[in-house]
Symmetry: C2
Subunit: 121 residues, 2 copies
């Protein structure tokens, strides 16, 4: 069972965190049968935090967790903090495959998405 975990920064604004939660539900609706579930977790300021988010997936039956950083640039959070937090869960469950895939801002299809948005708005 493969789970997708969207990882966002987290905000003091509840609305921003809820925006991530709603996006997560929409990704789930779009991802067909690829993932048993799509969830979200936060680096700070909102719950669940990343290690808890990963462990929740595992406790719900995940045998593989794919982590997608919802970040626009390869700053410290993407390069250092997220891998550190994910490693805390991996250490507890060494038998589970946990993969951090490239962050949102690096997705090849992003320029095309933005060009389409600007053209058709």
């Amino acid at each position: 069972m493969k789970y997708l975990l969207i990882v966002a920064h987290g905000s003091r604004r509840t609305e921003s965190n809820d925006e991530v939660r709603e996006l997560t539900q929409r990704i789930k609706a779009q991802s067909g049968s690829e993932f048993s579930d799509v969830r979200c977790a936060f680096l700070e300021l909102a719950e669940p935090l990343i290690p808890d988010g990963v462990i929740d997936c595992i406790n719900n039956g995940a045998t593989e967790v794919v982590v997608l950083p919802y970040f626009l640039s390869a700053g410290r959070h993407v390069v250092t903090d997220i891998p550190t937090e994910v490693a805390k869960a991996q250490q507890q469950y060494p038998e589970i495959k946990i993969t951090i895939i490239p962050y949102l801002g690096s997705i090849d299809a992003m320029p095309s998405l933005m060009a389409q948005h600007a053209t058709h708005y």
Copy 2:
């Protein structure tokens, strides 16, 4: 002549700002003949700042400027700061049509993009 201006936060990390500049070039390559040019500007910490970015477009012949906020959530920057900075340029050039379109995180196609990315990585 319609110009597209990608507006990002700006970072102390030069690499993050360069990432935005590269993305801007890739959007330009994808946007066909819709825009005479695609440029970027920053809310803070990098140049050009937003008012200068808009005015540069106008000085280069833009009669219309479309502003796309490269932000993931509808926080203070999107709701207040970007409109305030754009208004500074609009005030100087009241005859130019300047439109702020919805920010990146709100684009309808985003969940599908992320689902595809997670599935095919």
